[in-house]
Symmetry: C2
Subunit: 401 residues, 2 copies
Amino acid sequence: MTMKENYFSDESVPLELLRKRAFNMRWAQQPEGVIPLTAADPDFTVCPPIQEALVRYVREGVMSYVPPEGLLDFREAVAEWMHDTRGFQCEAENVFATDSAASGMAVVARAFLGAEDEALVPAPVDFLLRHTVEAAGAKAVPVLVTRGTTAEQFVAGMEAAITPRTKMLWLCNPHNPLGVVYSREWLKAVAEWAVRKGLKIVSDEIWSDIVYEPHKHVATASLSAEIARNTVTVYGFSKNFALAGLRVGCLICTDPEWKKEIVKVSDAESTVYGVSVLSQVAVIAALRDSREWLAEFVRHLQSQRDYTVDRLRGWPGVKVDPPQGTYVIFPNVTHLDKDGDSERLCARLRDEAKVALVPGLPRWFGQGSSGHLRICFATSRGILKEAFDRLEPVVRRIAAG
Amino acid sequence: MTMKENYFSDESVPLELLRKRAFNMRWAQQPEGVIPLTAADPDFTVCPPIQEALVRYVREGVMSYVPPEGLLDFREAVAEWMHDTRGFQCEAENVFATDSAASGMAVVARAFLGAEDEALVPAPVDFLLRHTVEAAGAKAVPVLVTRGTTAEQFVAGMEAAITPRTKMLWLCNPHNPLGVVYSREWLKAVAEWAVRKGLKIVSDEIWSDIVYEPHKHVATASLSAEIARNTVTVYGFSKNFALAGLRVGCLICTDPEWKKEIVKVSDAESTVYGVSVLSQVAVIAALRDSREWLAEFVRHLQSQRDYTVDRLRGWPGVKVDPPQGTYVIFPNVTHLDKDGDSERLCARLRDEAKVALVPGLPRWFGQGSSGHLRICFATSRGILKEAFDRLEPVVRRIAAG
């Protein structure tokens, strides 16, 4: 792929299409004129190699049944990618194609958690971790985490939360919404503790391709053979390749018995569960032919991240740490509402500044999220600047009381 | 669409691609040289309007999140289709996009059946009805049905099977594998009985576009307002439009409370469940722009059906009734194996005739299926002729002992 165009310029945002097609609190679901920096989903079109692969496949016209665990090519492409980009040794047979990362989490939860069981889940964190644990009938026990929580502090939190019913530890790395990319040492200390306690680890690594220098993503399952055996990795293609609408992700699981149980619980063998063949074809092209596009996307996002941090530092009383990964930022804005009610604050910002943000509500991010805003910056510089130009005077007015 | 080509000629079967891409007991999973008349899935490419719509959408490049219940256009296209093709009055708001018809059944079962509950399920019938009831933790109670079972006989069967725990009646119309298209009178008598007994009805109508003159598909939910209120219709796009690999179907439910419960149980609101946007785009083009293609497909299938019946009537001791709908036929071949073991018979036919068929095993079709073979004839005349040319001498040899 030669990069003749800039895929991330102001002109490259297909606003008219987004207003018709981008749901989940985004353009198609906002009042006229409102800029959504809401759901973590890019404002850009999918990269050319994905489009080419899809067009080629569609023109060939065969859309028959696919294998329950996913196309062999899909599973091989994922295994190669994991090896090449993060030294995570896995094979095609360890990969199970899932109908989104979220649905992958739901399958893992159903496979390994019963009604009496508990799972340790960091808080705050994206609601899907807690949600899928609870949907399986189990209890999600929060372990509080902040931007600066050390491994020792996190282990202490887990020690305080573990009970005889605790069966799993769920991690999110890079962390949405805190933007932390965990170091090898942090992860190792936490994962080794979990293995010692006999807990299975679910490592949500859907954000793992969106990491900014000098940080590097470390796959939990790459830490040691023993940790790998005890870990199910959740991966997806919506954040990195803008494929949320295609509903495709995967689970990686090196223990063959666990893998078998996961596939069985998913009900893929009966055809009740599965992933569209076109979505798998898109992913194969993403992983094999779109590395340059992704690198450029991350460079663009890093510059967006820096701009976002600069603008937020201009808000009265707001302190922010630049995200190390993800394209969301989670500033504490408690002082902007007298009750620290970020939902009311968000409504005001949407009405007065015409910018939609996600409030730090426990139902979205769990404990420790109140009084925060989550802002997604995966858009063009022009849209991001416009959003902050609108937000700033309103925030200043609010801060001034 | 102008029909310049014959989409169903011998030359139109993309054998090389099918050998790589058609799974689920089909070309890609058979030994070299074996013709699969197995899974009910056509050997033809998807029709041009679907391909065009997909290419257009892919080129536009936006693959963002879609609404949890499906695109409005998708739901409107389904509602229009139901009205135009069978006089079934429903609205977009009654339609819920599902990740295949099978997954739709699984959602309905989970929505309305608990561990203590029972559902009446015809037998034989496609395994997915029983399977999804059982996957929900409930009990599937078989009600025996044959090609000629009258409504009175079926009601008598249900009367004998109903208990205080019975909550639902599941129907399959047109019936796979018996090929029956139920008449208005048959359906009405059965559905009215169910409504009187307070049972919810699930009507699997995935085969409803594959019906041969003079038969006509009657939607259960079109029988009366009261029956409509008590019915969830299961519909899909794999049999009619060859889209099995795209994983898309829908549920239609006119009771708003039931609909709400179904959507809730599916977990679509959280993004755990959903349907790829490209699959929905394919369906919109199928329903709005592919009627002529479908009509030609059914004409081709009718001729294939007639040919299949003729050839089967040449097998010693086999009596067959022509299917009124579906593209499968289910002859009783008990006399071809001394124990009536159709699995052993199928293995022999695959090894000696190089043709793969589906044995009438209880695990595939439930009670009443032993000693039968299921043969799919959704291929070209050339392939079908070759398959019967291979089968006939082997069957004669077997029959001669």
